[in-house]
Amino acid sequence: MEKTAVHKASMPVNTYRLIQIVLGVVFSAYVIWRFYDVFIGNPAYGADTWMRFAISGVVLGSVYALVAIGYTLVYGILFMINFAHGDIMMIGAFGGYFVFEALKNIPSPTVGDPHQVFLNAHPIISVILAFVVGMIVAAVSGYFLEKIAYRPLRNAPRLVPLISAIGASIFLENAALLLFGSQRRDFVNPVQLTRGTGWNIPVNGTTVILPYTGVLTFVLSVLILIALYLLVQRTRIGRAMRAVAENKSTAALMGIDVDGVISRTFIISGALAGAAGVMWGIHLGLVYYQVGFIPGIKAFTAAVLGGIGNIPGAMLGGMFLGIIEALGPAILGLPFQLKDVLAFGILVLILIFRPTGLLGEVLSEEKV
């Protein structure tokens, strides 16, 4: 006891590190014990239940990844957190919702079913339309969000655009409240994509459903993430984005229209969030004016987890968070209602112990 006190007085930095290590060891030991307890000691769930958790985690994770990219792209270029990003996702979700609603009312009679509607007669076209519209309205919103709420504050102190972002978020939610009301609406899918239906996988004598909506969400997310990666790494616009992220005035000296690149970054981020919103609606079935709030904060957590500014980090962070959220409560023996608390607990821990995130993008001074 006394020894520690002396130590602390003379080497405060090492003491801090020591506390971190001790806490880390204790926490790891607890997690390992929980793993042992849950899987071997007192198996709480069968393999089928774990599989259901895992499926739901991977699907949610892929949505978080899409939204997290938006936080990371914008941070990479403007060094600000776009707190209204979750609301852009909400706008995308409404876009997809209204497409399905409209197509549900267009009759498309067939020989077998005179009451058939377009939505069910042409589910693939309907889904494509929902995504196209959802992505476009979200992209356009992202574009105007930057132009109106952030661009005039480009040279203001760093805190100012953050406040503006929070203001924009409140504005967008209230605009949606005014336009669409406060009720939670049922996101009606084409009948072929009815929630809860899917492929049946036999596990442990029972069957686990691999939902169609989940597979659609996951596959589409992965395709979009690959496309984004290629865009950033292989194309002229991607090169310009990376140049602007590193140094705006030198980028301008190359002939790059910096404002244009920033606009395009918001358009791309918005489109990804819009796609995520439509996925959220299709897979989870609800849309309302605050539907983007929780996934927005989760995706922000994912972006920080992967190292904000780091694109592969955001992808991995999203997946990781989705899986932790789905499996964590069961493994740690927490009530499932606490899964959000778990996610935000992770955010707090990361911010305290490893603010650079898992992939360790250094928030260098030159950037700040």
Binding site: R242, T250, M254, G255, V258
Partner: protein, 237 residues
């Protein structure tokens, strides 16, 4: 008509009056140097020409065309390239990607390969390092990259801000040789240098800048003999 002419430029940083009525001319095919002590306003002058800073008063003319109001990226399309102070390479991008960005303003992409070859002929070291991330290059290699990148734009006029800064003497000489070679190929050059002796030995004419004002302009040969220049910038008593 001069390649570049600036008339009575006043540039401010907030309330700081950094350039107090600067005028200068660079003729087509010339190397002109701008010398001056730290903080005299050399970088500010180049940044104003490049459009990164907007003067409150005065004009920047490129072959007679007024480019004062253009944005920095638009000025590039007019044929002005700049090697910024401290090189300004994109450290996280590869050498090739940096060079590629140098050609960003070019519309004739079909000449890209040929221009890349030209840069690699001037700087063979860059060819060896093509795939390398630029931040891992040595200081001298980074300077070569910054110059090579500016050449990829095929500028009519090249603005260079202290290209010799922080380089070993032997490298400084080869950088100056390269500047002469680039100029011989037809690029007009406005060169800002701390190394006034070297700059004056390759330039045709020179301007001396002091706290935001041009205090002297003459042929390089005359400037080298000038009492004040010898004392203040060449370190010769």
């Amino acid at each position: 008509m001069s390649m570049l002419e600036i008339n009575d430029i006043h540039t401010y940083y907030g309330n700081i009056h950094a350039l107090n009525g600067i005028s200068l001319k660079v003729e087509k095919g010339e190397i002109v140097t701008l010398i001056g002590a730290n903080g005299a306003g050399k970088t500010t002058t180049l940044r104003t020409i490049a459009g990164l800073l907007k003067p409150r008063q005065g004009q920047v003319l490129l072959e007679g065309e007024d480019i004062t109001k253009l944005k920095a990226h638009e000025v590039v399309y007019k044929g002005v390239a700049m090697v910024p102070e401290g090189r300004g390479i994109f450290a996280r991008l590869t050498v090739t990607e940096n060079l590629d960005l140098g050609a960003y303003s070019r519309t004739d992409r079909q000449n890209f390969a040929q221009d890349l070859e030209r840069v690699f002929t001037i700087f063979p070291r860059l060819k060896e390092r093509q795939k390398q991330v630029a931040g891992t290059l040595s200081g001298g290699e980074q300077q070569m990259l910054a110059m090579g990148r500016s050449l990829m734009a095929r500028p009519r006029i090249l603005l260079m801000d202290e290209p010799s800064m922080g380089l070993a003497p032997i490298l400084v000489e080869s950088i100056f040789d390269t500047i002469v070679a680039i100029n011989k190929e037809g690029t007009t050059i406005l060169l800002v240098e701390q190394n006034a002796l070297m700059a004056l030995s390759i330039a045709a004419r020179g301007y001396v800048l002091q706290t935001g004002e041009i205090v002297l302009l003459d042929s390089a040969a005359n400037l080298k003999q000038n009492e004040m220049v010898r004392k203040s910038y060449l370190g010769i008593e």
